[in-house]
Point group: C2
Chain length 482, copies 2
Amino acid sequence: MKTEIAAPRTHLYEQVAEEVAQLIGQRILRAGDRVPSVRKLMAQKGVSRSTALQAFQLLEGRGLVEARPQSGYYVKPQREHLLPEPEHSHEPDTYDQIELEGTAAKVAEVIVSFRHHPEYAPFGVATPSPQILPNRALNRVLAATARQAGDAGNNYDFPPGHVELRRQIALRAPDAGYQLAMDEIVTTFGCMESLNLALRATCHPGDCVAIESPTYYGLLQALESLGLSAIEIPTHPQNGVDLLALEATLAKRKVAACLFATSYNNPLGSCMPEENRRALVQDILAPRGIPLIEDEIYADLYHGLARPKSCRAFDTEGLVLVCSSFSKCLAPGYRVGWIVPGRFGQRVQLLKFMNTLATATHPQAAIADFMKSGAFDHHMRSLRKRMREQVARVSEAVAEYFPAGTRVTRPAGGFVLWLELPGNANALRLHQRALAEGISIAPGPIFSAGQRYQNFIRLSCGYPWTTRLEHAMMTLGRLAQA
Amino acid sequence: MKTEIAAPRTHLYEQVAEEVAQLIGQRILRAGDRVPSVRKLMAQKGVSRSTALQAFQLLEGRGLVEARPQSGYYVKPQREHLLPEPEHSHEPDTYDQIELEGTAAKVAEVIVSFRHHPEYAPFGVATPSPQILPNRALNRVLAATARQAGDAGNNYDFPPGHVELRRQIALRAPDAGYQLAMDEIVTTFGCMESLNLALRATCHPGDCVAIESPTYYGLLQALESLGLSAIEIPTHPQNGVDLLALEATLAKRKVAACLFATSYNNPLGSCMPEENRRALVQDILAPRGIPLIEDEIYADLYHGLARPKSCRAFDTEGLVLVCSSFSKCLAPGYRVGWIVPGRFGQRVQLLKFMNTLATATHPQAAIADFMKSGAFDHHMRSLRKRMREQVARVSEAVAEYFPAGTRVTRPAGGFVLWLELPGNANALRLHQRALAEGISIAPGPIFSAGQRYQNFIRLSCGYPWTTRLEHAMMTLGRLAQA
């Protein structure tokens, strides 16, 4: 006689895992949330350490959570919430004259809306929330440096700029895969000034610059204001600039410089693979003597374990001009950035002098002290985690509230998402309607000289997730349906 | 019987006056020195108040001293030490392409020499000595604003910039003869950025700009870097731009903008009379629709009783763009300036955004607080006196130590002197030889796109007079002989 088959026996660790899985399924725990620690689970469920660990391994195997070194387990974005990414962009487009009346005027209008961001749900301007920056600590450092500065803080700090700040920047270059002497750095009033200097050092009015498509609107404005024309190169949401399309373009047309944000570009969030960087610098640009202006402003905000290498790591000709700043990670209001201008060093120093004479002394000194003390690296470690979590939250809300057919990027760094809305969505109209509901977003057409991307929007994830933001995303999703 | 005629009777006040006159004659008291006060004279000589006053009136009548309101009597520059001024400059010169390899490269070289100024006798760079700026007081204000700022100090302060700073600037516009709303001001990273924005708002690459001759070398560099050409208009050491020459130029050639430092321009120190300002703005520029970029950076450093009016006071068309900063009077290292862009307001705001995004928050806040407290106006009153004295000292040393035939300007404001050396003097060579002796000067050719002014030099009088400076002037005079 056969014994009745018992209900399949469930191991204790499976039960524990199932309880956590239900929390995730019910969206009580969400993508980016930390799940209770092993220790907490042991106490909560009265299980052994090995049971708790087995439960996590099971959850990890099912793709529900992921381990982060020295931090614990976190809820992964769920497959049903992983929307497809936008498609690879269009064929190269040339804009011989970037018209202020076109893109830039639209941009200006949108920027005005960003100014109000304390009152708006802040998905518009790509800036980190003041809440997640060490403002008070940094301001205390500034106060201390100001008190101690004596006369020095009030003198011109002529280019190349603050000695200790340049030393601190040089010390961190190996993270980006290259060695740097402090004399190779020129400090600036932020990445916008760095980009302006780089463009002015490498191009003359009327020249054509190859850029990513879509690209940061501020860059389009800078090109316009310098009388430069642009050629927009198709850019992949994961791999960045399409090198074949770039080569085809270069074969047809004289390009004075390339300007690419190779690591987590704004708005796509793409990150060029290392092999592509090498090929870009050594096989494509060096033989043609074309400079690469590399916008690295988001590069330190990697979500993974290591910073992507800079293209400068592959440069033997001094043709790469690296531009960056502290605006996205530490101190937007301090306006301190830098440029590593390669063989254009002398010209860049002179242009810096011509543009703004010198970078302000005290803000540079404060940031240098903050870096020297170790506080900066400590802050960056926690900021990267936060940014990853915030991106996951917004991403999940898009999946939950936006119309079917919406596509969204999956950036491996930075803090912006690029959404393709289905059908005939009109991003500029959505921007207006969202503003009316107290929500700021950045409409797609401002990211292209030709006002492409009519049905795209960029969402900044610079702010910690709150119920208010969740409601705003709900509203935005509803508006996007219409 | 006639009584013997007594030796002509000398009044007591005449004796007292004579004693002071001897001190001046022996150069123990020098131009710009304060002579002992009425009270001191009463005590020193045991004379009555009215005797002391009579003595001063006598000295004043003889042109030895001058009264300054609420301050006392000062030694006047003596006739024998008043060198002739340089002649009115040459015919208009056009430079269709300002060559980096020419002027700008020379300038770069000279600027490098300015950087070492702590070790050099500082007649080179036109910056006030840190000793005469309220660095510690201002740094304390910065420290306080930084400590109190909370999150605000670290946010972007998007154009038009800091509200309280703009209010403080607007409050002082009536001193320059006009009313200003704070919304008409855009804050910048100093006057160089203001001038860049003004040029970019009014000109396109290839356009021609009318400038003074000689003119500030930084301006020539800015024009060069923007691909603009220059036409140098003859400029009078006292009255500024020659309006007849300007009109003749405008009749022959299309000019996109004029860029003049109407009040104490650098290096001439000339100040345009009010009637010329009116004629320039209303009769010459307005009918032609030509914008005037007015560099006012030295305007607040008047040596007389009142600030010269800005050309903006005569502007009914919004064609005047006023550019200024705090770099010459308060805080070179803070890098805070502003522009009043008239009808070009929207374009200037956009260009500011494109160039450097926003002006740094804390330095603006600190200067605004400093102004609000009254400390700024108090400081300016004493700074103006000091600058006048320092200019008189250097001027007198030129008369004493420089070769016969040297000519020198007599500026009514600012703190630079422009010297014409006799014969075949070579200013660039003098600059090199002076550096070798530890003296920094600015050679004339860098003040012209065509490297005119081969035998001119500019001396900055930004530092308090010391024996060291006197020795440096002695050495410089000797080098100029050779």
